[in-house]
């Protein structure tokens, strides 16, 4: 295959699909297409050429085969909650929506496995598993609406991934439609399948290696005991010191989260979570496991928090109280809308030991630029979610906020961290990739993409800034990539 042929049009794809996909599921009416113009990152909008609401894996395969035949780009979409523009459509491409594939094929607690369609909602898996004594560990805050397919594509995490890992640690096998239109199974239900770990490569590939049409995921046993603690501190430094001491004591909590004063104010306004009045920071720690161990860890955590200067220490004694503590944290992103008309949700990572220094620098940047930053973070693994607040109606405010947001990412890279811990690169951060990776690093990643997608039609323009054309080697200086010329340029 060569890369020089011109791309075909979505009209050709539409012709192929008539009679294969129900007419009502082929959306071409501009009024309908507009619904799909963005994902959770509404700053980027592109109206797709065609939207297909697939009902089966075979339909997904038919769409992709047709796209491959006509060299038309396609973008997969689950629930559209992504925060990096990963599901941003292609103007001359097809948006393949997998939400209607939502069958829960099997719940097998005896094997600690569930077999699910990509459109199944994250929380639904845990809801079905809980009566059987199990749950699905990856728990993004969006879990009431985000799909398993989206989780797989983004390698999503959540508050509890400190102890239990991310989506990639919980997916054993995937049915995938590759960008060349083949239906293949990657991995086996048991671990250690022969050959390369293609499941490991696919998870987190943000829809650039194909469309997942079924997943075998791990179910995790519900813990015997759960204790959720809320500690109020005067400053984030104190809360950070408590975090470090907990880790140094050899404790791996299920979750350790910190919110700063501004984030608390927002959460309080939005959901009246009743966090300690006057707190400069709150620390939420969740301990789970066997009762005897949790009891011991709880005593340690309380001692450490008191030594670090907590002025209010609460423990949830039942599920309702636990939900109350989590309410403020889980609603934090949306809550910020109460204290600022507009905001950017940032997602960066630093080594945990750099947290105090990075928070201090962020405070300085915020003061220098006159841009408020609220902080909510997964303190246990150094994953920061600074919320950069601004008012778009104010002259130059958007630009200032974007600049601060970019400076925060630079700060993360400077400290040996990452530009994204869980929200993905998508359309939003592709331009930052060269700050973290060399050309050779990025070219090596492209090798995987070329193996799966030689024509570059799967979610083009996402993740990588200017992808090398497959078959071209070594890297030579190139002009604008055809994908950019074909309409993706407006994205950047």
């Amino acid at each position: 295959m060569t890369n020089s042929q011109p791309r075909g049009s979505v009209t050709a794809v539409l012709e192929d699909l008539r009679g294969v996909v129900a007419a009502a599921h082929l959306l071409t009416d501009p009024a309908q297409l507009v619904t799909y113009e963005c994902d959770g990152l509404a700053a980027y909008r592109v109206t797709p050429g065609l939207v297909v609401l697939a009902d089966t894996a075979e339909e997904v395969a038919a769409v992709v085969r047709s796209c491959a035949r006509h060299r038309v780009p396609f973008v997969a979409r689950g629930s559209g909650t992504g925060l990096s523009g990963g599901a941003l459509p292609h103007a001359e491409g097809v948006l393949v929506v997998t939400s209607r594939l939502r069958t829960l094929h099997a719940m097998r607690p005896e094997d600690q496995r569930a077999v699910v369609d990509p459109g199944v909602i994250n929380l639904q898996v845990s809801r079905e598993a809980t009566p059987l004594g199990y749950y699905f560990a990856p728990d993004p805050s969006s879990q009431q609406i985000c799909s398993i397919g989206g989780n797989v594509a983004e390698n999503s995490g959540g508050a509890h991934c400190l102890k239990y890992g991310f989506t990639s640690n919980h997916v054993l096998a995937l049915d995938v439609v590759t960008p060349t239109g083949e239906q293949v199974t990657l991995g086996t239900e048991a671990p250690d399948p022969p050959g390369y770990d293609l499941v490991g490569a696919f998870v987190g590939s943000e829809g650039t290696l194909g469309v997942a049409t079924r997943a075998v995921v791990r179910l995790t046993r519900l813990p015997e005991e759960v204790r959720t603690v809320l500690a109020g501190f005067r400053s984030t430094d104190q809360a950070g010191a408590a975090t470090s001491a907990i880790i140094a004591a050899g404790i791996v909590p299920a979750a350790i989260e910190i919110m700063d004063a501004l984030a608390i104010e927002a959460a309080e306004k939005a959901v009246s979570c009743g966090y300690p009045a006057g707190a400069g920071a709150v620390l939420v720690v969740e301990l789970d496991g066997a009762e005897q161990e949790v009891e011991h860890e709880y005593a340690e955590v309380e001692r450490i928090c008191r030594e670090a200067g907590t002025f209010e220490f609460r423990m949830a004694t039942d599920a309702a109280e636990r939900a109350e503590i989590w309410k403020g944290r889980k609603s934090a992103f949306a809550a910020v809308g109460r204290i600022s008309p507009d905001y950017i949700v940032q997602d960066g990572v630093v080594p945990r030991t750099s947290l105090p220094e990075v928070l201090r620098r962020m405070g300085e940047i915020s003061a220098e630029r006159g841009v408020r930053v609220a902080n909510v973070f997964h303190a246990g693994d150094g994953n920061l979610h600074p919320l950069v607040l601004f008012d778009a109606s104010e002259e130059g405010a958007t630009e200032r906020a974007e600049e601060v947001s970019g400076m925060i990412l630079d700060l993360c890279i400077e400290h040996g961290g990452s530009i994204t811990g869980e929200h993905g690169v998508g359309a939003d951060k592709a331009r930052y990739m060269p700050r973290m990776f060399t050309d050779d690093d990025l070219d090596t990643m492209q090798l995987v993409r070329c193996a799966f997608d030689p024509d570059g039609i799967a979610n083009p323009g996402k993740v990588y800034p200017t992808p090398r054309l497959c078959g071209e080697r070594p890297r030579v200086v190139q002009g604008a990539h055809p994908l950019q010329e074909a309409g993706m340029a407006e994205v950047f």
């Binding site: 005896e110 086996t188 022969p194 015997e224 050899g250 161990e293 150094g382 690093d441 995987v448």
Partner: protein, 406 residues
Amino acid sequence: MGDDVLTSLAGTCTLREAQPGDAVDGVPATVVASPADAGETSALMRACDAAGLTVVVRGNASKLSWGRPPERVDVVLDTTGMDALVEHSRGDLIATAGAGMPLAVLRDRLAEGGHQLVVDDLVGISTLGGAVATGLAGPRRMWTGALRDLVIGVRFVRADGTVAKAGGKVVKNVAGYDLSKLLTGSMGTLAVITEVTVRLHPVPASSWWVGATVPPDRLPQVLGTLVASQLVPHAVEVHAVPGGDPQVAALVSGTPAGSAARAEAMAPLLGAGAQVAEEPPSWWGRIPTSDGAGSPLLLRTTARLSGIPELVAEATGAGLTVTGSAGAGVLHAAGDGGLDASAAVTALRTTSVRLGGSTVVLDAPAATKTTLDTWGEVPALDLMRRVRNEFDPRRTLAPGRFVGDL
């Protein structure tokens, strides 16, 4: 021949002519090259690429014979010179080390900070790079996952000499493809791993093993109860020899008081004769061997958790000794020379595939090795071939060693 190769590689790194002992699974080597760092590795690989020489990467050669014999070995690339502990960040619970770092040395160094890389070295003398390249995993994978789940960053040199990295040194990171996972278990056929960053765990204060002999008819119930236990076993292992009753043992770790209490509470789950001990049973965390000298046939066989009792029965019925992780669904099976290897492989493979797993031949006597179907049917083999072809189009790295004779 040796001289030609030495000449074409001159100046890249320390070189010597290969000895008979450097042969890889019976295939004689020409030159042994020992790069000191990624830069020398890159120079070496570039020179090999230019001269069309094949390369087999070698750590401690503990199990270099496993897998298929390579088609040709011009150069053995010895990684043991790259053995530095680059970083152990205690507050971040991560460590970075050279690929040639022996796991045993790494363990001692990390223990100074109360930490560990949770990997069970089943063969005793692996290097970190060798462990990653083979996807080493033992009993405690039930606790923290296998090595694939603990590797957070890799530095490597591609077949054409390109130096690259993936991942990083933070535990949470979704920037770009997770090449660390792709390289883990790739058997040295995609790139030469030069440095690895791993996630660490605290060393628990105390550990107990709860063990019992379990009649085969009770095995499903005992294993089912153990893996579902909220007492959080860090490992559940099974060991069985042909004609004998299976043995089961579980590892309980944690605080001194807590773990002791949990071990006592777990004992009844294994049955009346269960024992709580401070030491593991002798077969724990080892590759099984048969009674005869060595282990002429060694298989890895997997199944969904509920299928493990059937797989154990199938293996022992075929005359194989099995040891492995009932808590993860992965077993090793060994048989001696008297066995019909081909029949044993076929029987176990049929059963394991039906139970959601696979069976691969890790090692076999030279006479039968090339006649056995090493990997069985590999799902997505065509995609794997394309990945290999992108990374190493000239098949420089260990040609023929991996699935589909890649």
